[in-house]
Amino acid sequence: MTENGEDALVIERILNGDTDAFEILLKKYQDTVTKIVVAKVPYCHMSEVTQDVFIRAFKSLSSYRGGESLESWLKTIAVRTCCDYWRAKYRNQETPMSSLSESARHWVASACADGAKNVLNGDSERMELREILDWALDHLSPTDRMVVLLLYFDGYSLRETSMALGISIANVKIRAHRSRKKLRHALVSLI
């Protein structure tokens, strides 16, 4: 039986009231969803957002039509849940655009001065880089942030990005262009 066929059977069982069968899907797609979520939200919220993805998927299981694979359907839900996470964050003003710490600024200056340095060896250097990455991404709106991450960091195509975020390809292109400019501007201010 094909993978889609297997999933369809499990979904049918769930829709017929066998809630426990959802654990089969959970086990099967847990890693796929986690890989998407882990890099897009802060680590402390990773498990919470991943849980939200599966709960959303469970609630809308009856609307899954089977045209696309369950995996890509779940990936779409994961991307949109991450986007919603940032929307809620921005709305609650929990993360106003953070200012970069002095140590991170200093680190950038020294790393750029010594380009040959293998900076990803030490844990503290990784922390600095994470801080810089988060700081740079904080300059973008939630949707722009997701466009940049999907398109440039995850290597999604324009079409895949537009499908995942539910926006047109033209919109993805415009957002990508503007976001790149904003990010470049932010990073240039550091060096």
């Binding site: 809630t19 086990k27 991943t50 299981l61 380009g115 990073l187």
Partner: protein
């Protein structure tokens, strides 16, 4: 390094950092059990098979709200029809006062 090179270098580092983060983190132990507990608490049929109206009016608060509001809305409408129609002149009615037009519709026949 020139500014362009520095920027490219920094971008590469950030790219690598993103992918390191992606590869290194795992869900905490007992996470799956927690999700399944949450899932069992959701009544699937109620949340998925209802129509939009059923979902809205199935909500006791909204139902009560709608139940209280409907007579209120009808009374208000009647009030405006009567007072609007009586107090405004015929010329105003013809111009398009909705309350007046409604009054005409009620009283003229």
């Amino acid at each position: 390094m020139r500014e362009k090179e520095k920027l490219a270098y920094l971008e590469t580092l950030l790219f690598e950092t993103y992918h390191l983060r992606r590869a290194s983190e795992e869900l905490p132990e007992g996470w799956r059990e927690k999700v399944m507990r949450e899932i069992r608490n959701i009544r699937l049929n109620e949340s998925t098979n209802q129509t939009f109206l059923e979902r809205w009016f199935g909500n006791p608060i909204l139902f009560r709200f709608a139940g209280v509001c409907l007579p209120c809305a009808l009374s208000l409408m009647l009030f405006f029809i009567l007072t609007g129609g009586v107090s405004l002149g015929l010329d105003r009615l013809v111009i398009g006062n909705p309350a007046g037009i409604a009054t005409l519709a009620v009283f003229v026949p």
